[in-house]
């Protein structure tokens, strides 16, 4: 626990995730991080679990279900999946799991690259509040939060990840 924020240390959570995932690796496992925070976490998991594991990133801006309300995200980036998705065991990685809509969009996008054998979900923080029947297989920490609060993952200039709490009422 960090004394200032009361939130767990992100780097320690990632090590815990890596340990949980390590027992379940197959020769077709690939890590796919969701932009932006999930891609950072997936990168660290990749370094811990073995750089030979294929690593990809998804930007789900083209698959969001709130497009007609919110418009296109201003900083959409290309998705990079440079390995065959067909038949792969994909571990989808995100920083914070909330409604489940991002994960649904990510799964829709993944299927446009091919038909994976299985998709699992690894998240740093499960904050509750699901609006879809989506459950993670690997969780760093469960921190239930009211709707007005948000957990944000930040990366400093040295590449260290940390968590902070935002309150939308302020």
């Amino acid at each position: 626990m960090s004394a200032s924020t009361g939130l767990p240390d992100a780097e320690a959570l990632i090590r815990r995730l890596a340990e949980a995932i390590a027992d379940h690796l197959t020769d077709r496992t690939a890590l796919v991080g969701i932009h932006t925070g999930g891609a950072w976490v997936a990168q660290k998991l990749n370094a811990l679990l073995g750089p030979e594991i294929p690593l990809g990133t998804l930007d789900i801006a083209f698959y969001r279900d709130d497009f007609s309300r919110m418009g296109l995200h201003p900083q959409v980036r290309p998705s990079h999946i440079d390995f065959p998705v067909e038949g792969a065991h994909i571990i989808l990685v995100d920083d914070v799991l909330y409604t489940g809509r991002t994960v649904r969009a990510a799964m829709n996008e993944l299927f446009d690259f091919g038909r994976p054998a299985a998709i699992e979900l690894a998240v740093l923080i499960d904050r509750g509040g699901r609006e879809l029947p989506i459950a993670p297989q690997y969780v760093g920490a469960v921190i239930p939060l009211p709707p007005h609060q948000h957990i944000q993952l930040d990366r400093d200039s040295q590449g260290r990840l940390s968590l902070s709490l935002l309150d939308k009422r302020h």
Binding site: F62, Y63, L72, P74, V76, P78, S79, D112, G114
Partner: protein, 319 residues
């Protein structure tokens, strides 16, 4: 003066009618979005669900194959429903007015019109008329503008040359009658190209073109000396027979891009053309098919750029 009808109160793009008045940040944000769509176009499934349920009408009052087709593919890859109308052949010949045609299509649930028209200002006219939730993209109006062509051209240049602020670029040919040239000039000056030239015979350069921020050359070898990019324009058939030019053969001699003339440009210069090409009139086949030509990549990138424009306009609900 009426506010710029293509921007909403917050400066967000509502229609795309012309590049004139768009700043570098907005142009780059369109190009960045297009970059992501290039990735989509290289996938197994070249389709995203962004515009599912939207109805897009290709409203072409003037014939076009490439532009109409790339808009159609772009819309389909965004999962929109696309209807192609070649109006010259239907309502207009029965006497229906432009706005009646538009109103009827709006009553069928149109969300977006892609408009090509021989009259300058036609797309503006439609944009001012339609309901607030309907978007309009100008796909070429008279001699005025062809903004998505201008955008796909600068997208292609950015892909090959990266930094606009170090480039020398020459636009060669019939500047006078070219909406493509006007859109290219507005885009390239907004993006900060320090050395932008137009090259052509006096009869095909509009008076006062310097005021757009370009340098004028009548000698092609001088005009393309040491440039990074040569942008050729199509010489329209009717001009070759008109009083402005002696003959196609004479034009080719002075302004046709041959391997010999191209050697005056930088060794790594790229050659662009908006199509369709008149081989042996404005461009020699050896150049059109040569290693410096990026004419087919322009077509490919045109799809990604049009996907970007459509999705930036269509998102965010009604204004």
């Amino acid at each position: 003066m009426a506010p710029n009808p293509q921007l909403d109160d917050t400066g967000k793009l509502r229609h795309l009618l012309t590049i004139e008045g768009l700043d570098a940040a907005l142009i780059h944000s369109i190009l960045d979005t297009a970059e992501s769509f290039v990735g989509v176009n290289e996938r197994e499934v070249k389709k995203v669900p962004l515009l599912r349920g939207k109805a897009i009408f290709n409203l072409f009052f003037e014939p076009s194959t490439r532009t109409r087709t790339t808009f159609e593919i772009a819309a389909k890859r965004l999962s929109a429903d696309v209807v192609n109308l070649n109006i010259g052949a239907s309502s207009q010949s029965k006497g229906e007015t432009l706005l009646d045609t538009v109103d009827n299509l709006a009553a069928m649930g149109a969300d977006m019109f892609i408009v090509r028209h021989a009259e300058s200002g036609a797309a503006h006219f439609i944009a001012r008329h339609v309901a607030p939730h309907i978007r309009v993209i100008n796909a070429g109006d008279g001699r005025h503008a062809h903004p998505t062509q201008g955008l796909l051209d600068v997208f292609t240049i950015r892909r090959y040359k990266k930094d606009f602020t170090r480039l020398s670029i020459a636009i060669v040919g019939d500047i006078m009658h070219s909406r493509v040239a006007r859109s290219e000039i507005h885009a390239l000056t907004a993006l900060g190209v320090p050395d932008l030239r137009v090259v052509g015979p006096r009869t095909l350069l509009p008076k006062g073109v310097e005021e757009l921020g370009v340098r004028v050359y009548h000698d092609m070898e001088e005009g393309i000396a040491d440039v990074d990019v040569v942008m050729m324009l199509r010489l329209q058939n009717e001009r070759m027979r008109g009083p402005l030019l002696p003959s196609a053969g004479e034009y080719f001699k002075h302004y046709g891009l041959t391997p010999a003339k191209l050697r005056r440009a930088k060794p790594d210069a790229i050659v662009m053309h908006p199509g369709p090409m008149n081989r042996g009139v404005e461009i020699d086949s050896a150049v059109a098919d040569g290693r410096q030509a990026v004419i087919l990549p322009q077509v490919t990138y045109g799809i990604a750029v049009r996907m970007a424009v459509m999705s930036l306009l269509a998102g965010g609900g009604s204004a």
